[in-house]
């Protein structure tokens, strides 16, 4: 399984904080996102945003980054700390 986390306004928009996804057949973040959008077509306006930041196991990565079972994945709006 892959743990997927959503933060800040993205979490509010999806009405969801985290989901567990079966890793089978999912090779990278792009495929993970496609899988989530298949199950939740109404997430497209939010999860489809190019501006989102992506992390795998708490490190920022790009959309082509490999994901494996056991990974912690995060979809995040652009950060606004400091």
């Amino acid at each position: 399984m892959i743990t997927v986390l959503f933060f800040a306004q993205l979490r509010d928009q999806l009405g969801c904080e985290s989901v567990s996804v079966n890793a089978e057949g999912i090779r990278n973040l792009a495929e993970l996102r496609a899988h989530l959008l298949e199950e939740h077509p109404d997430w497209q306006p939010y999860l489809g945003l190019e501006s989102l930041l992506l992390a795998v196991n708490q490190t920022l990565v790009k959309l082509d980054h490999v994901v494996n079972s056991g990974d912690e994945v995060a979809f995040m709006p652009p950060v606004t700390g400091g």
Binding site: Q58, M76, P77, V79, T80, G81, G82
Partner: protein
């Protein structure tokens, strides 16, 4: 003293400065940044903030940013504190301190850490304003600042 702290409680700038220079006579230069909740942001009247973060990744990303600063400049000591949770108007949000034998290195390291923190560390601000709550939008100018380095 840990280099990184993510905490709900406030910090004491004088005490942080004292700890950074304590017993170190090689660091001739010390630079500090403090960010606070300000009354106006993009024309909105702000009364407070809620600061959300990604526990675990926050500390990891700050440590990574500090490490990059140390690889670029001859830094003696660094301290980064970022608060999370509810913050009122005027309260302190973030502290970055860097000491070095050289003035330019201390300035660059502190500004680099702030620019990277602003664009890479997983914190999100939700503002309380006179017309309700809203998530703060990221700024292009922060991206541009980070791309200088």
């Amino acid at each position: 003293m840990n280099e990184i702290a993510v905490q709900t409680q406030d910090f004491d700038v004088g005490a942080e400065y004292a700890a950074l220079i304590s017993g170190d006579t090689d660091a001739g230069a010390a630079v500090f940044f403090v960010g606070r909740v300000r009354a106006r942001n993009d024309g909105r009247e702000v009364t407070g903030l809620h600061l959300e973060h990604y526990p675990g990744m926050t500390e990891k990303s700050l440590q990574d940013i500090v490490q990059q600063a140390k690889e670029r400049w001859p830094i003696e000591r660094v301290r980064v504190i970022h608060r999370v949770g509810a913050l009122r108007l005027g309260e302190q949000i973030v502290f970055v301190g860097a000491t070095s034998p050289h003035r330019a290195a201390a300035f660059s390291a502190a500004e680099f850490i702030m620019d990277y923190l602003k664009t890479r560390a997983p914190f999100w601000k939700k503002e309380q304003t006179s017309s309700g709550e809203l998530w703060v939008e990221a700024r292009d100018t922060d991206q541009q600042s980070a791309q200088r380095w």
